[in-house]
Amino acid sequence: MDMPQPNARIIARKSSILALLSQVLPPDAVIGDPAETRAYECDALAAYRCQPLAVVLPRTTEEVSAVLRICHAEGVPVVPRGAGTSLAGGSMPTEDAVVMGLARMTRVIETDYENRFIHVETGRTNLSVTQAVEAEGFFYAPDPSSQLACAIGGNIGMNSGGAHCLKYGVTTNNLLGVRMVLMDGTVTTIGGPWDEPGSLDLLGVVCGSEGQLGVVTEAWLRILPKPEGARPVLVGFAENEVAGACVADIIRAGVLPVAIEFMDRPCIEATEAFAKAGYPDCEALLIIEVEGSEAEIAEQLAKIKEIALRHNPVEFREAQDEDQARRIWLGRKSAFGAMGQINDYMCLDGTIPVSSLPYVLRRIGEMSAEFGLGVGNVFHAGDGNMHPLILYNANKPGDLALCEAFGAEILKLCVEVGGCLTGEHGVGIEKRDLMVVQFAPVDLEAQMRVKDVFDPQWLLNPAKVFPLAVSAGRRDAVTTGPGASPRTPGIFEDRKCQA
């Protein structure tokens, strides 16, 4: 993975930059020792690594603002980091960057059940947001697989989804407002606990901007009343095509399950070996979950069963109790861990039109043979969000490159059939160079102009999202003289921080 040439002048001034940061942060919030910054060199995409200049761990929005003001003045890039669970390298640093970790900002600021929102700091984990409101019968809907550990800040950066977004939508559909610090230290509020911004939808573009427009320190999130119950069924099929057709028929029929998950044979076999969930021996299986009262669940499942049986499943298994429900989900939830037992893996997340599922799965199988690398597919079938897990050996020279090439071919295929490179993980570092497959130069130019507005010097989360060649002009304009030559003035340059 190519990275821009680090700015030698910044690296040379490391000690003075650390000294400046130490003036605005307590001693335990500034990390500069290379022995310690090493652990921040990557996130959950450990294949790509780069040790940062320093790490800061602020506790308040005011500290975030103070750090950004310093980095802005010094021309130092900043990489925001939530919990470091990105599978796309979204918080991978550069050598001349300061990593800004938000893990200490975990407070619940306000919970308002009548108005159905929670106001939290963004270092708080996704699951702990739900935990904060579940005693009152509420939950926060987006549930990425990493929900136990991933931070709300990262969810906003990547516009995270999850298994249940078929019904409830992704982060952007459940985000009401943010408090955000711009690169020059300006603190601003976009949206609020009410549901219309009354302005351009800045929140819509901040969500999913991968930490490149500002550092979001607080968020107002929609919380929803928990359904009375939920129940999964498991349906096994002898062919991927048939499973795909079954998904289409269920959607067509107007039943709205909260989740439809798909696993193919390699993945089923791996999870059986690891988690022993008792899945049937078949080519493809679906886990379909519906919600509501007992009677409502029965009504929906009857419809689903009727449709599924038309496709001659090898098995139709209805959870009869909590434990059986847990076992149905067990294999799915263990899938990543199970694949990890076999070898290192790279997890992709291209999305395709549901109608292309069988074709795409067949092509992935063929490519797997061509590249000589195993691949298992586990994904959100209701919305076409694939998660091919490509197996490779990180300790074997050349294997990572082969895996990358295979991954690129899969993603190109996704775009070819009318889909996209990433459905919920984000572009990050991983898919950056493939952006030209999906977008024409003018499309990327339009996106980069948005960044120009929020972060004119291109200091926030550098080297992500846009191919280096495409963003070269903008990055060069600012990396040639930080701290030395005059910079493009930001629109907030002369504003005081409003804390």
Binding site: D28, I31, D33, A35, E36, R38, A39, Y40, C42, D43, A44, A46, A47, L57, A83, G84, T85, G101, A103, R104, T106, G123, T125, L127, S146, L148, A149, C150, F274, K333, S334, F336, G337, G340, Q341, D344, Y345, A394, N395
Partner: protein, 430 residues
């Protein structure tokens, strides 16, 4: 994760095992979410993933441990919450144990640290020395604020105000079953525990006999080795463990043993790992056999079965010791047993989080330990219990020093409900 070890490095079985563990880690970060020190400190370096990274770096470079790595590894409680959480089955315990040995061998700690650790390693595993130390602490207690080091103060403060007399039950002997005999079991009577609290073993022996177990306190057994093991003092730990293996195998080969019963879960985790500890040792086969026989008292009781009891109008907050819930993955048995004999059982929020006791941790890391203790007590007391039950002496001491209700061992409540005396702590508070 990718690793960078040379063939020569991998020839060392310890490094080979570390490499195997590191290779299974996918760096997903799930472990950070349930790590108590990460909750308190919010720095990845104080999370399992960060520590794994530091350890990986240290071992790959083959260099002596540096002060930063030592600081963060020392802050690890070894509560093993991360192992419960890990979706990839990373054996963090073996990795951090290996790192601690590496640190102990290659890092020269500041003088005060060395002194403290040596004193703890010298005293804790030996009940006689422990009693003397407790006596000393009692004398120093009024002057503790004059002590120059927070850790020393913590040690003095942790010492109980009353020191129980030696229980003759802990001497080597055989207790006959008082009901028709169904099992012959050895009881690990422990080291520090029997100096701090003799009621636990007394209650265990009574209860087991009543249920038809012949209980052996084997000659030659002693500390399980856990305390020194977690300090990286491999030789001391191994010699303690070897003594136990010899003592129990003698019984096993003699009159026979169906189980080695352990009522201090911190010890249980270690005894169950003897097989791994001695895997490259002539004792390997015996060690593996003992590891297989080792059972927490709650496992044995669940296996034998307790009589169903009438409701007892007592609300028990069950505190899950990490060594039990994470180290041994025993989660429901103690609660099920308490409910079966008639108690109302409640559990605190975030029950997966450590109370901060963690062996010698509360003595060596008093500040983090105190924060964890405060959190745990707050969540326990939010459930308004009449008594707190735990299956580990360390947790009992830690919680007992701040709880507003008595803290007892699960086995004391089970003994009481099935015909034994009321636990002493309940008497004292009544």
């Amino acid at each position: 994760m990718q690793t960078h070890f040379t063939e020569a490095q991998l020839a060392d079985p310890g490094v080979a095992r570390a490499n195997e563990i590191l290779r299974s880690c996918v760096h997903c970060g799930f472990c950070t979410a349930t790590c108590p020190t990460y909750q308190v400190l919010g720095d990845e370096l104080d999370s399992p993933r960060g520590r794994i990274y530091l350890i990986k770096d240290m071992l790959e470079a083959g260099r002596p441990a540096d002060a930063q790595t030592v600081k963060h590894v020392d802050r690890c409680l070894s509560c093993l919450s991360c192992m419960t959480t890990c979706p990839s089955g990373v054996h963090y315990m073996h990795l951090v144990d290996h790192a601690r040995v590496h640190i102990e061998k290659t890092y020269r700690r500041p003088w005060v640290d060395r002194m403290l650790r040596n004193v703890l390693a010298f005293v804790l595993p030996h009940p006689g020395r422990m009693r003397l130390a407790l006596l000393g602490a009692k004398i120093i207690r009024p002057f503790r604020r004059l002590l120059p080091d927070a850790r020393l103060r913590a040690m003095v403060e942790m010492a109980p105000k009353t020191i129980p007399p030696v229980s003759r039950n802990d001497d080597p002997q055989v207790f006959a079953a008082t009901a028709p005999r169904r099992m012959r079991v050895a009881l690990l009577t422990g080291c520090a525990q029997k100096a701090l609290n003799t009621d636990i073993n007394d209650a265990t022996i009574r209860l087991l006999r009543r249920l038809g177990c012949e209980v052996v306190v084997a000659k030659g057994q002693g500390c399980c080795g856990a305390l020194t093991h977690h300090m990286g003092k491999e030789d001391q730990a191994h010699s303690a463990a070897a003594a136990n293996i010899h003592a129990w195998m003698a019984e096993r080969r003699g009159a026979g043993l169906d189980a080695v019963v352990i009522n201090t879960s911190g010890c249980g985790t270690t005894v169950k790992d003897y097989g791994h500890m001695f895997r490259n040792d002539p004792l390997a086969a015996d060690a593996a056999e003992i590891a297989g026989l080792a059972k927490d008292i709650s496992e044995v009781l669940a296996q034998i079965g307790l009589p169903q009891g009438a409701p007892r109008e007592m609300r028990v907050a069950y505190h899950a010791a990490c060594s039990l819930q994470h180290g041994q993955q025993i989660k429901s048995a103690p609660k099920d047993l308490l409910k079966r004999v008639g108690y109302e059982v409640v559990e605190p929020a975030d029950s997966h989080l450590c109370c901060g006791s963690a062996g010698t941790y509360n003595l060596l890391q008093p500040e983090i330990s105190a924060q964890l203790k405060a959190r745990k007590l707050a969540t326990l007391e939010a459930k308004a219990p009449q008594v707190i039950a735990a299956g580990n002496i360390g947790c009992m001491m830690q919680l007992g020093s701040g709880a507003s209700v008595p803290v007892v061992h699960t086995v004391e409540l089970l003994d009481w409900a099935t015909g034994g005396p009321m636990p002493r702590a309940l008497h004292e508070s009544a």
